[in-house]
Symmetry: C2
Subunit: 338 residues, 2 copies
């Protein structure tokens, strides 16, 4: 990678991000915790298992339909913890603020963070504030890290080991809402149906499912890179592949319309309040029923299954019957989506 | 604070930073952990005590005499943990990178982080990478958060409760080295003596002292805002004050010369590898001896003592015998020093 420069795509969550992480960070920071490349690490502290994660939020605009950067910075990190099977407990907050930023806006954002932390049942216990001159950052960036408790004996729901051919693939709601809400705000799009970001902490939605964690093989929240990227990451270098059915993918009509206008594919669009899970085939319907009882999971649906027919690959059966290989996002459709 | 805008001084670590944290963040995030306003929180996880902290690093230039932003991002967060009495264990790393940043530079910075983590005996276990367009951030910002184990029964060394009149105040080496190294790099100063940043993890320097934590009342690493700011914070609203002697303050000759040239006072300058500690009077000399055996503590010295004569105030006896009240940094002398 020498003599190369960072491109916007290196932050996409897709192919370039993956290469950068492997070729720069993993090369130097090699340790067992990082190597699984999941969004949260399982660490040992005083003989107990803890989940630990971090994310920086650089979303533009910082106030958007359905939320703001503060709400996102809390719910995004909470979701990274809870989809690993942990119970989120504590958060840190690091703010980088541009000189001239209105203190009233900062106050509103801090209020959002506090409200979302309360919703998610966690405490923001440590923080840091840096200020840079005008033009040295764009308004406000927030980093949050989070720690959670892993109940004894609970397997890591981001560990791919337990996935087998025949398992069902579920998504917990409509794809791309967050990305299209941000795009609509940036471009002043007027849509028939007002699309709001789906950013929300998902702890309570999956609480019921985690009472029987043995039913769930794997869980990821759908963020940067979209559904496609996490499905490809899940199958990479494995003895199984995945078959998903386009007709089952839940996409709002207005999201679909914007995608057609901009040439986007909803499977690459970011959500901030949706999960993809791989579950035992005989429990799939039961899990769907639990999810649908929660207001954030009411559009949950089985979108396909794990197969041994094309190991390492994700294949999508299109509405008209053809099949195509699904790959990771290779560039970046919408930078600064989170 | 309504209708006000963020100023550079809000990130100084001094008076404006304090006001911002209290009037915006503490107002919303109120909880017992945050209220002590120390640089790391003591939290309970699975019935065990854990230290947890975060810092964002926005230093400019990112490569400077004696270090780089990666080394600083590891040692700074390690120091926040160890001065609280904890044993640093795990770190997170969140990178915000400007489009066009050279990947070779990123590689060098990741290598520094890995080396410094190894020096400090900790692991970087989780990370995140965001990329923003040219002009939306200045090269590279790094957030690290850290968790550490608190040995059973060890009191919080950032808790002011145990400080009493008569206690001695120690600094572990020369003041302002980091700030002046950064300034010299920015302004291309040619100095008689080459000043290097003192950024370093201090875990091993204080290891010996923490074998008898009962000798130490309080400990803080000297960073933004300098020695003056942390002394003032330590005395604020307390029944004790502090008297320090200017003649005992360790300052390198060339640092002093640059201070005279720029009108800076070394007590407001940032270090990144020095500690201020308040210790029991009868153990002060013993602690100085232990510190001086370590290469990072060889200039350790007693600079003054805790007194009940001027409660809540820090007073400095000048070289020529006069006394003056020391206050917090009110503006910002050197932005983006860390």
């Amino acid at each position: 990678m020498s003599k190369q420069l960072i491109q916007i795509g290196h932050g996409s969550g897709g192919r370039l991000s993956n290469a950068l992480i492997r070729e720069v960070f993993l090369k130097h920071f090699h340790n067992l915790f990082l190597e699984e490349l999941s969004d949260s690490a399982r660490i040992q502290l005083n003989g107990k298992e803890i989940a630990y994660t971090t994310d920086s939020y650089v979303i533009d605009p910082i106030f958007f339909p359905g939320g703001d950067i503060g709400q996102l910075a809390v719910s995004g990190t909470v979701n990274d913890l809870c989809v690993s099977g942990a119970i989120p407990k504590y958060l840190s907050a690091g703010m980088i603020i541009e000189e001239g930023f209105p203190i009233d806006d900062l106050d509103n954002i801090a209020a959002s963070m506090a409200k979302e932390a309360q919703n998610a049942g966690i405490l923001i216990v440590t923080g840091d504030t840096k200020v840079v001159k005008r033009g040295q950052c764009d308004k406000l960036f927030i980093n949050t890290s989070g720690v959670g408790i892993v109940p004894k004996g609970r397997h890591h729901l981001k560990n791919r080991e337990s996935i087998k051919a025949g398992d069902k693939i579920i998504v917990t709601g409509t794809l791309g809402d967050h990305a299209i809400a941000i795009l609509a705000a940036r471009e002043n799009l007027s849509l028939d149906e007002n699309i709001l970001s789906d950013a929300a902490p998902l702890t309570s939605m999956i609480e019921g499912i985690l009472e029987h964690p043995e039913n769930v093989c794997y869980m990821r929240d759908i963020t940067r890179g979209g559904l496609a990227t996490i499905l490809v990451e899940t199958c990479k270098k494995r003895s199984y592949g995945m078959l998903i059915r386009e007709k089952n993918l839940p996409v709002k009509q207005s999201v679909r319309a914007v995608c057609e206008l901009y040439g986007f594919d909803p499977i690459y669009l970011a959500n901030e309040g949706k999960i993809m899970m791989v579950v035992k085939p005989d429990k799939a319907q039961y899990i769907i029923e639990i999810l649908r009882k929660h207001k954030l999971g009411k559009n949950s649906i089985i979108i396909g299954e794990v197969t041994d027919k094309h190991p390492g690959r994700v294949v999508m059966q299109s509405v008209i019957g053809g099949k195509r290989i699904v790959d990771m996002l290779s560039g970046e459709m919408l930078p600064r989506i989170c």
